[in-house]
Symmetry: C2
Subunit: 456 residues, 2 copies
């Protein structure tokens, strides 16, 4: 009897089919990043806790996976009273490393640490897992992959446009219909100013961010609780309640924010981005969405979110400009802009819409049936030729019942099976079976490579 | 002033050039694995400690990175006295997960957990980082990548041959001269039997394994300490001292092991593997090396090791057959064979021999110089064409001094720079500068795509 084995909750094994589909997404994304001159970096899974703590709020600190110091970690603990209210102090004594929580803070740390080797503007992408001790639930994991692309060290709005081109290219190649929603935090700051609540900018953005999920009523309630005056809320309502297209929104904002300097700047930035898009149209719909806020507070300019047009799911890509990310490590005035693709959600949308190409299900192109030593040798000879010509193939590793070998081909979704038995061996031929069509044909062994070049 | 930031000792950041070179190795290896019908799986970074503990010996248990339980992990600790001699007990109370130490034990766990979905023989590869709290030193890291390929559920020696073909293909495409050394643990068991020390098989293999590093004298000393009789050691010496070629070794063994059943079986296996190699020669040298033992005790049949012919370094690939790996989780009688490529060492060898192709240094193919808004628009138009034709390119994101932009191209090893200034704009031309040769030419804008198809 096999032992009952399991993996930690919220983590996943990926089987060959899942891997193939995931890599289909990652490989396409990587290829597009590279086409625009972005380069890969990787950072270690473990960071010093001093790098991570305090960067994600109190809640984030709690969700960090912390690594027990190696060796006798108890030494420092002996004089400490063990009680729950001293838990952070105790944790500090026994743990100094944690698993990364996102790719953004390690990237900021990377830039600061390597600033003298980096040639700015620095265009990097990074695709790695992150870990969060969140309560696992449907679609939320404790280990999941982030897929980030950023330009840092340039405040040109050309970068915002380029990232939108990248978004468009990625979802075009993945064959998903999407809408790119954009907004600008300076516009939100302008709105806060225009309604007379400049100092409530943070709670206003956090509240607006919830409109999609919670609805306007709930958001207004939250704003009241945060101390917004009734008159401010009255002024805010038309921003949130009325649906406008991009042009209407800009006209509306130009009036509303005419006295807000930051608001005027935000409008100018948005207009520049739309000028790019109008001159060089992308395939996806692009719209200014005033209810888009992005909860995270490090964004300072353009913000993006991508929605699937066909599947009801949260955003599948998002990001924005941050003017001072590396300031958390003391390096000031380096502006950057970046986006992150939500690989797990993209995977779900593609599965639901059946968008993965047939090839992602296929393992080898060909299986050779094994009838024993003599036949096997002929198979090795032909298999070597096929592989040299870029055709993946495998030989069933030992003689076994035919139906077992065919079942193996079936389970692995191998599209073609080559049978070289006694007769074929004698006649220098092979029987090629098309597993999907159920058809078969007999051809000369010397023609197999050419035949497969045609078939595949 | 930037804060002093760092990463945990023994871990590494990988910059774009390093990433490109590492991926050159991984991508080539993956492609070859796939050509032979192996499929990728991935397992989580964290495993339950119950999965990991006891699988790597006492020393291994200590080298596991353990994860502090989330939430109030102190609860269970309150009634426990904190003292060093209770450290494993205390660790059990506050930690139930650890980072994987290798890919083999998680793979065994995977097979047992998913045995009903897997179609055997299961040909899988896995390329992921592993973590060990080892003392960091030159070439030894606390986070490093393993690159494993295994067939499980088939005891045919065809698999051993196929893995040797894979080894040969990998180092052929990476352009490294290597020697594949093979041996068989059954031969070693036969030798232990023939010298009358059957029960000392484990210490004999561990000692033999050290011959390369420690020399024969030290190994003999260790064997004495392990209680081998003088007469046994006298019988063992000719096995270790005399260099023989494969054919001589087999003749020697057939005499020495004529009364050992396991030894005879080992010889038969080795002969079968060499029959394959003789009929289907590989490019690399293949030799039977009786001093090859592989320290790890789960190997039961063929064992492999690959040495670089040009660089003095430990083995760059190794593996073998294990008859009972999944038995650690209660699933018996599933034989497998596998090898692991040492990516870090292969990287070092290739760096030393300068074997990375030029392309691994290159980021984009082309940089467009940015002279401002009007010129930028023309660049966007042409860049879009280039990218559609598979040519990677980037536009410097803002107007800047020429030498700054050229320096950027230099630093990123971009081979071509396109200049479209006022004159070029007027004449619908572009100046293409070859950064390496230092030459430049002026061509019509409409011909740029074709020109680069020729150039790249």
């Amino acid at each position: 009897m096999a032992v009952q084995v399991s993996i930690p909750k919220g983590t996943r094994d990926f089987n060959p089919t899942e891997m193939s589909k995931r890599n289909y997404i990652f490989d396409n994304i990587k290829q597009i990043f590279k086409k625009y001159g972005y380069q890969a970096i990787e950072t270690p899974a473990m960071e010093n806790l001093s790098t991570l703590l305090g960067k994600y709020g109190d809640e984030g600190d709690k969700l960090l996976f912390k690594i027990l110091n190696s060796g006798n970690y108890l030494g420092k603990l002996e004089k400490t009273e063990i009680s729950e209210d001293k838990i952070s102090e105790i944790t500090n004594l026994i743990s100094e490393k944690g698993l990364r929580y996102d790719l953004t803070v390690p990237f900021a740390r990377y830039i600061v640490q390597h600033r003298n080797e980096i040639s700015f503007p620095f265009k990097r992408f990074q695709i790695q897992p992150v870990w969060r001790a969140d309560k696992p639930q449907k679609g939320r994991y404790r280990e999941f992959f982030q897929c980030d692309v950023d330009v840092i060290g340039s405040n040109s709005l050309y970068n915002e446009f380029e990232l939108m081109q990248i978004i468009d290219d990625v979802f075009d190649v993945l064959d998903l219909n999407i809408t790119i929603k954009i907004n600008n935090r300076k516009i939100l700051a302008g709105i806060a100013e225009a309604i007379g609540e400049t100092d409530k900018f943070a709670p206003i953005t956090v509240a607006i961010d919830k409109i999609d999920k919670a609805g306007i009523e709930k958001v207004i309630e939250e704003l009241k609780q945060n101390g917004l005056t009734d008159s401010a809320i009255e002024k805010l309502k038309p921003v949130l309640e009325i649906k406008r297209n991009t042009q209407e929104s800009i006209v509306f904002l130009e009036q509303m924010l005419e006295n807000s300097q930051v608001g005027i700047q935000g409008i100018a930035e948005i207009k520049t981005v739309f000028e790019y898009i109008n001159k060089f149209p992308v395939k996806s719909a692009v719209e200014l969405d005033l209810s888009l806020a992005r909860g995270l507070n490090y964004y300072t300019g353009a913000i993006f979110e991508v929605k699937s047009n066909d599947v009801e799911i949260g955003s599948i890509c998002g990001g924005g400009r941050y003017d001072d990310l590396t300031a958390i490590f003391g390096l000031k005035d380096i502006s950057g802009v970046g986006i992150s693709f939500g690989a797990d959600r993209i995977y779900d949308v593609m599965s639901q819409l059946d968008k993965f190409p047939e090839e992602t299900n296929i393992s080898s192109d060909v299986l050779f049936i094994n009838f024993g030593k003599t036949e096997e040798e002929k198979c090795i000879e032909i298999a070597n030729h096929l592989r040299k010509n870029g055709i993946s193939c495998e030989i069933f590793p030992q003689k076994a019942k035919m139906d077992k070998q065919f079942k193996y081909a079936n389970n692995k979704n191998i599209p073609y099976v080559i049978v070289i038995g006694e007769d074929e061996l004698k006649n220098d031929t092979a029987t090629i079976k098309n597993m999907k069509a159920g058809t078969q044909s007999n051809i000369e062994q010397t023609l197999i490579v050419d035949e497969f070049k045609k078939l595949l």
